[in-house]
Point group: C2
Chain length 586, copies 2
Amino acid sequence: MAAYSPPLRDMDFVLHDVLKIETSSTPGYAYLDRDFTAAILGEAGKIARDVLAPLNAVGDTQGCRLENGVVRTPDGFKAAFDTVREGGWMGLDCAEEFGGQGLPYVMNAATGEMQVASNMALNMYWGLTHGAYSAIHVHGSDEQKAKWLPKLVSGEWTGTMNLTEPHCGTDLGLLRTKAEPQDDESHLITGQKIFISAGEHDMAENIIHLVLAKIPGGPEGVKGISLFIVPKFLVNDDGSLGDRNDLSCGKLEEKMGIHGNATCVMNYDGAEGYLVGEAHKGLRAMFTMMNEARVGVGLQGLGQAAAAYQVAADYARDRLQGRAIGEAANPDGPADPLIVHPDVRRALMDQKSFVEGGRAFALWAATLIDAGHRSDDKEALGLVSLLTPVVKGFLTDKGFDCTVQAQQMLGGHGYIEEWGVSQFVRDARIAMIYEGANGVQALDLVGRKLGAEGGKPVMAFFDLVKTFIKENDGNEGLKADFLDPLKAASKDLQAAAMFFMQNGMKDPNAALAGSTDFLHLFGHVCLGYMWARIARAALEGSEEFHKAKLATGRYYMARQLPATKMHLARIESGAVPVMALAAEDF
Amino acid sequence: MAAYSPPLRDMDFVLHDVLKIETSSTPGYAYLDRDFTAAILGEAGKIARDVLAPLNAVGDTQGCRLENGVVRTPDGFKAAFDTVREGGWMGLDCAEEFGGQGLPYVMNAATGEMQVASNMALNMYWGLTHGAYSAIHVHGSDEQKAKWLPKLVSGEWTGTMNLTEPHCGTDLGLLRTKAEPQDDESHLITGQKIFISAGEHDMAENIIHLVLAKIPGGPEGVKGISLFIVPKFLVNDDGSLGDRNDLSCGKLEEKMGIHGNATCVMNYDGAEGYLVGEAHKGLRAMFTMMNEARVGVGLQGLGQAAAAYQVAADYARDRLQGRAIGEAANPDGPADPLIVHPDVRRALMDQKSFVEGGRAFALWAATLIDAGHRSDDKEALGLVSLLTPVVKGFLTDKGFDCTVQAQQMLGGHGYIEEWGVSQFVRDARIAMIYEGANGVQALDLVGRKLGAEGGKPVMAFFDLVKTFIKENDGNEGLKADFLDPLKAASKDLQAAAMFFMQNGMKDPNAALAGSTDFLHLFGHVCLGYMWARIARAALEGSEEFHKAKLATGRYYMARQLPATKMHLARIESGAVPVMALAAEDF
């Protein structure tokens, strides 16, 4: 299998020529000049290529083993984890006062894509730690921050998020895990959590579980959920480790992919836990870091697509099979490379135009998160809250599709495990499911985000697109190939939103029946918008790189954007065809 | 995991109310009345449900093992194979003179869907045997037929197809396996074949390999390929087994799915082989049974989708999560079942409308194959040759998508192996690749079938659709919901064909760049046509079954057919966006 090649040139172009990050007024962005980001990304790329990628297949083949309550991770995972930890990568965007590097989240997103692309299962161990860090950082007391954060930032300890129980995933109101208050203000946690990624492993000396549970006597449903810190080992006041807490990994799940990550059934048998934030407000606490977490999962979909695409493109250039129509490309060889065939090109262009457009989209969303958090820009925060389900849902749905297309490129060689593309497909599949299944993302988008703040964020999005089109109206290189299709697609999105407004009030199902189509329609408009911005930047360059950007963007506009009309037609068919059958007719 | 439920009612409806098979003039069809087909399908359904389905997960988990050159199949496979063999199912449509049941192929297609849905890996052992039977039956000498066919029909021996080599799959002109003529008219076969399904196993006493090889001195490329019978054990004149032939399984591939089927590297080291048909005409011999083989793979995509859909629908009815908008469906329970949610319905309707429309499409194609072979109906044969790449490509692409949607329904439970839906996804994936990857199907459709016989078959297809619309114009139940959308979709297909005609002559790439989109466009029109025919039949009934059919059909027309416009737009964007980049830009 070909080595992973970090997309450094592309990231440099997106960050500096398209998003122009160093001109942003967001605090911390002034430092992000080309040299600085090149140094960071170059180093992260090396680790991804040389340390993480070589262990990707190892993790898939070996998986994790549970032996007497201890989870053994695949050979080499601990050493690679230590390399990443020692380089300070795990705390890249964590607060400096707790030992982090204090960089903007956008740098975490860019380095994260490479880590995910090269080894998704291994990356998750510190990815989830970051979630635990954020929960405590935003909602914990000063004491809790001082006690728990430094070692989560350094990676000496890792973290987890414990939401799901056997009978409830999305509907957390049903959860049963109990938290009994004790005299010393701690709680005793009892219950079973499932699908806990990195719930137990052998790479860190302690694991800090963030657990949702109900304090008896609290309100019913989601309004009675509290958030607790539940460490694997209790921690003494001097920071040393104390007794083992009453929790354990009961089982590892056999999964379709991400075998290198331990997906645990966690049993809490009266484990000591510490309330984070207010009692009964745990769900809100868990959801405040949702934007980042979901953009992170969107990056997983993108990263797997990017890595799989590289293998497919290499294969298409190398594999000799059939002849080009017209002039042979390899007249002295027994056949031409696959890449001469139009349908092979079509498949590669689908992948390439998604990966590059999606990368720009994810990094743009990351800059909005930074603007929201670092300069308290409410408009940016509203916009990224709107876009987050699109980043998560669209990039993971389409990212998975791309891995399937990459696998298809290799024919039978893609189906056997030897070439590694099957693993990209199997690993990418989970990103459509966890951190809110994509149907739930669509529900969040249509049922909540679209009408948020009286529709201000969505109007702001339409304004952005409109303004861009207007500002560049005289740019002949953009007009027909980029602006016109973007305008048409954006009109379809507006028509869909209008349909929801007109029909959703009378019958909410009329809107919700179109939610997944709306998410995809929105995703296409976002990528169309990004491609138009990329094209504007590319028109200012004259290298082969810039020409290829323009050609790739034209492909996206001509071949992918027409999907918006199909999604609109489906949406406008309303709820009746969707809801017509009785449950027993299925 | 829920038991597999054979779709007997649906098959009965399609065969008798939609296709009205017993009124067909095709020889053999007069016997196929409702009672007769019910008896056959009921028995086949029982075997699928009670014998094959319970072993599906066993096969996936255990896989096959290669020990000292012998392949061990999973526990229970041999006993189940024997049950199918002893019931005469393997020779259902084989000629009576060689011990077969002599039934039309359509019955093989219907029973085959159930066998594939319940255990694809196990079904392949006799599915490939059928391919070997057909090759010898059509192209072998009388002596060869007498010697090899009876035991292939009875299932005492199994068969394989050996095409692919490490350096060549689609482009068979590159193959290197040699066949040296001997004095006794046999040949000695030397070379390596890969991806040989059921190449070695422990369920039959002999394995008859059909091998493509080159006789030295023959023409270059595909014109110099010959087809050989190469048995694992030589067979004496009295039919008893002789010496072991010089061939062996060198390796089993580790694959993404169909673990219960042995995918072998086969090494031929001067193995004795017998020429089938004329020297150098082997490719033609191999391709004459292509329609059946490809429809068979289309059924695999459909079957996996059908089985996965059953699990998803059961889960959606059982799993309590969230509340319906408006009135609660399960007010006394902690939550409503998933199936109340519009996006869950949308996903189930996508699957159901594909599975039922696809089933009718595949069975219709099977009746055309019968008409072609049994009454030498050239028109039917031309039509099914045109439709075969659509059946194969569309049913496997969309069938795979459906398994992914079914998996999504189960959330995290779909990603772990316990529920069995991951296996449907992993197994279904291969059907898009083998028997001609779907990109090759699209190439076959656009580059060969569309222009075949001066376009007669495609004109015949358009005529069928047009005539149906005209004949039913006064049917108010059909008009707006079925005929109008079918007409619009069919117009899109005609426009695409017209675009190819006008542009493909100047630049073949302009047509080929749209080949995959054309295949999908065609597939949608075929399913739209089938749904219109189903609806006409359903309007004559008044049971809940018929009402559900109409509602499901309306869904397909309203929500799936709008894809045709998107495919047309992509096609009409031509070759430029697809071919713009240099190979090194990827």
